[in-house]
Symmetry: C2
Subunit: 267 residues, 2 copies
């Protein structure tokens, strides 16, 4: 039993979909969230820059006496997949790519898999590489959907314009006969309804959900779960810039108010 918090890192506000899953699957856990808003978005940055930022940010979380880290940012996970695997950090640390890929291979029947994400994530080919590593016969088709993040951040979840954009991005994927689609960006689960409307029977993989399920197993295995019945587990939120904007946007993701967001120095 271990009541230290789980650290969650993202470049911005999107990782709150992971917090929401922690509340659902691990309701007794304390959480420390760090959003590196001074450097967002990670998508257009070089892999070198992203690796440096991820290292710095994990160090920040370690100072908060956490027992494990989730890299909720897909771009960060994509570019540091190897580093995480060979990690020398003293605590468990997982990204969102591997759990999402594992879950995908458990549910696909025809092994035809779609992946959507930001330019950065798709360009990294991280999901495709991981899927192929685990299942060489998988057919993977990838597609960047860069308008989804700004649409979600504007709160335009169920608008006609959103519907048109979702259709334009996803119809070519549907024609490829995929039976499983990975929502390869923390923001995308908020568009799940519109995406499902276009994709029909296709199974949608929410990596946040798969990642938290994976973290639960790891904590169980190492006897690191928090004691059950702890009253009011604590959630702390830190960002490197613009805390008000984070709190405002955060509502869309968490479905509730974020009372306190603390700004810390980046660089």
């Amino acid at each position: 039993m271990d009541n230290r918090p789980i650290g969650v890192f993202d470049s911005g506000v999107g990782g709150l979909t992971v917090i929401k899953e922690i509340i659902r699957q691990l309701p007794q856990e304390n959480v420390v969230y760090f959003g590196d808003t001074a450097h967002l978005p990670y998508g257009p940055k070089s892999s070198q820059t992203i690796k440096r930022l991820v290292r710095d940010n994990i160090r920040f979380l370690l100072k908060k006496k956490i027992k494990a880290v989730i890299l909720a940012c897909h771009t960060a996970s994509a570019f540091t997949l190897e580093e995480i695997r060979a990690s020398s950090f003293p605590i468990p640390i997982i990204g969102v790519i591997r759990p999402g890929a594992g879950e995908t291979l458990r549910v696909t029947k025809n092994k035809r898999i779609g992946v959507i994400g930001t330019y950065g994530t798709i360009k990294s080919r991280a999901y495709a590489k991981e899927l192929k590593r685990l299942e060489p016969e998988a057919f993977v088709i990838e597609k960047p959907c860069p308008l989804f993040v700004p649409l979600v951040e504007e709160g335009w979840i169920a608008k006609e314009a959103t519907r048109l954009i979702v259709r334009e991005y996803l119809e070519p994927l549907k024609e490829e006969g995929i039976d499983t689609l990975i929502l390869g960006c923390t923001h995308y689960p908020l568009l799940k309804e519109e995406i499902a409307r276009v994709m029909g029977e296709v199974y949608l993989i929410d990596s946040a959900r798969a990642t938290v399920a994976q973290m639960k197993k790891i904590l169980e295995g190492k006897d690191l779960l928090a004691r059950e019945g702890v009253s009011h587990p604590r959630q702390s939120f830190f960002v490197s810039d613009a805390p008000e904007r984070f709190a405002e946007l955060g509502k869309i993701f968490l479905g509730k108010e974020i009372e306190k967001v603390e700004k810390v120095n980046a660089d």
Copy 2:
């Protein structure tokens, strides 16, 4: 006569609309462009951070032996308006806010003026303050349109979804009876046609155009224009991160290939 280049600075690729105007209005001039892509977008950053970045970036341009600087970034111009006015730099340096505001007041008849831009620019209220300073009776209504930048960067200029988004953002402005609308972001001139379709008779101010016209006057006044008839004026492009992405996007803005983009160290 002075054949040294004009320096143009932006946080990313949007400032290329200024380059396009230089080619149109000052075709004999050499140009050095610096896009601070390692730190984009400037919009969500604090004013302190923005001022530091702008200072550093102007210093970089000065090393390239330029004769004048245009700050093409609206957020940078907004947050350093006072500094520029009281500038101690040894060469002329102008932002996009003042020329845009000046041009606006020359064309408005009813003094009801709209301003659209990113969250950062609108939150700074820089255009409104400058307009009010020059014309206390101006009525200014401001509106952030954060989806315009990602739409332009996707190249979705004339799509149905873009049309719906433009209409949703701008119809409330139209109802306010403005006769002039400032396109307060380097990306927005690319949506001019769709914006005009919604706004009808409203005069659209393209700050890039007004800024280059202003620069032309300054250079004329100081006898710093390049000699006419110089064959093949040179354009050099530098960025602090991801040069390939810059070159790719740049095509949309310049309407032609960018042959060489050099990456330089930021920080």
